[in-house]
């Protein structure tokens, strides 16, 4: 983990209240999709933890939703502005874990299930999965059509993308699990990588027998010192920031 200066290359609105920001700097601490960075903002005491959507050697892409004063401030930042960023935090998704399951079970129908601002880390994951020879389906859930983002980006990777919206204004009316469920109520998928609001994660948990779940929590430090974001798991107490944010399905306690 390092505290580095990044320069904003672009900060643009991509859906209702949702922004995509490109940050230029040293990304070498990022090792896995699903990790996050913790951004210091002028005038705010705590940093803002935001998941990494995608990254290259010298560029990090993040997507955030304006939900409070901090993210409101972020949305006003301009190209060339500099940010102090703790990078990289958290465990991220493990493709090795999926491979272990594949070895054991043979073929597994794999899906990426994202809800709202839980969608971004799944994009970097999709690219890494493709590099590893895994071709997942993608199911993205939003409130309405105006909230939808990254449908095309996932499609451009050559993946099958389905959208669900709560109000039915795009794709299937309902939630992501309505798309992931067969007519006999069984799961269309054997393995899921997911990120989104907790009720969605719970619904996905109830449907798909195996997978990796990325959780959100209010944090102070983001690197495991304060115990602000602790949760109980079957393997003992874990810190969402340091031992997570990704938990394996079998260890989750609701």
């Amino acid at each position: 983990m390092r505290d580095l200066i990044f320069k904003i290359k672009e900060n643009r609105k991509i859906a209702k209240d949702v922004y995509e920001m490109l940050l230029l700097g040293d990304t070498s601490d990022i090792t896995r999709p699903g990790q996050f960075i913790n951004i210091k903002l002028d005038g705010f005491y705590l940093r803002r933890p935001i998941s990494v959507c995608d990254w290259s050697e010298d560029e990090i892409k993040i997507i955030y939703k304006v939900v409070g004063e901090g993210t409101e401030y972020m949305s006003g930042l301009k190209e060339g502005d500099e940010l102090q960023v703790l990078t990289a935090l958290g465990n991220g998704y493990s493709i090795d874990e999926l491979k272990l399951s594949l070895e054991k079970n043979g073929h597994m129908r794999t899906v990426l299930a994202g809800g709202g601002v839980g969608v971004p880390p799944l994009y970097g994951l999709a690219k890494k999965l493709l590099e590893a020879g895994v071709r997942p389906d993608v199911v993205l859930g939003f409130n309405g059509a105006e909230d939808v983002f990254y449908k095309k980006e996932f499609e451009d990777l050559g993946l099958k993308v389905e959208i669900s919206t709560m109000d039915g204004s795009m794709g299937k009316k309902g939630v992501v699990t309505d798309v992931m469920r067969a007519e006999d109520n069984s799961s269309l998928y054997d393995y899921v990588f997911t990120c989104g609001p907790e009720p969605m994660l719970k619904a996905v948990y109830d449907l798909v027998p195996e997978g990796q779940f990325s959780f959100e929590a209010r944090m102070a430090c983001g690197f495991g010192a304060c115990m602000g974001c602790s949760c109980k798991t079957k393997y003992g107490n874990k810190r969402i920031c340091k031992d997570g944010p990704v938990l394996m399905r079998e260890e989750i306690i609701w």
Binding site: L86, R218, A220, G224, A225, C229, S230
Partner: protein
Amino acid sequence: MVKPDISTELSGIRLSNPVIPASGTFGFGKEFAELYDINILGSISVKGTTREPRFGNPQPRIAECPMGLINSVGLQNPGIDEVVKKELPELSEIYHKPVIANISGFSVDEYVECAEAVDKVENVGIIEVNVSCPNVHAGGMAFGTSAENIAKVTKAVKAVAKKPVYIKLSPNVTDITEMAKAAESEGADGLSLINTLMGMRIDVMRRRPVIANKMGGFSGPAILPVAVRMVYQVSKAVKIPVIGMGGVSSARDVIEMMMAGASAVQVGAANLTDPWACKKIIEELPGECEKLHIERLSDIIGCVE
């Protein structure tokens, strides 16, 4: 000018500098040891420990504030056995100086048991008795807001501990000097102050408290003036040494706290927003001393009349 002497002393224990990470903001040092050599620290006050393991309070536990934060962790810790058998010995492998063992409890007996247990651990230099946690409903601060209870806990812990006993005081009282005197009168070797101030934030969109436990402990730079005032008042009222804390974020803050009367200084919330905060403060201290014409830092302790 010769290089300033930034060392200090607590109850006969020499500290290479006065900077000590505060309990609950530094775990047992592991996360920070990955980032820098923590042996530069004057000492470390480790995560507060109770007799039984505790998960702590429900989520969310954190609320941001202007120049600070409210936490309601609720003394999450692995319990005294695990701390004595695992955490403290592991810390001794990465940190080679005496540490401050922070203990908490829900009864006088529990404080005594925890004190007895940490007293036997080799790398424990000082026992810091937390009678001021605002985040547990019984015990904790319930002890720290009554001079009578502080006297009881101090007396009981002193009866079993061979190592110096420091009582960590709550600011959530009418007159903190009364609490300080109660601890001193029963033989406390020193005092740590201040713990967090009780605070609350409301999510105005949802019309409910931000924190699940409704209220929590407010810390960060916003509370520095309150802490300086209380350290000043207490150090004038007692003869035992005071460890000052509350919002300290820079070498200048350390010096201010020492001028108010602190023999050493703990850094809390700053570790959470900048994991290198203590390192930076220690590195800045000699230069800051030179600027202020301080040859020996310990000379300024309580210099303000």
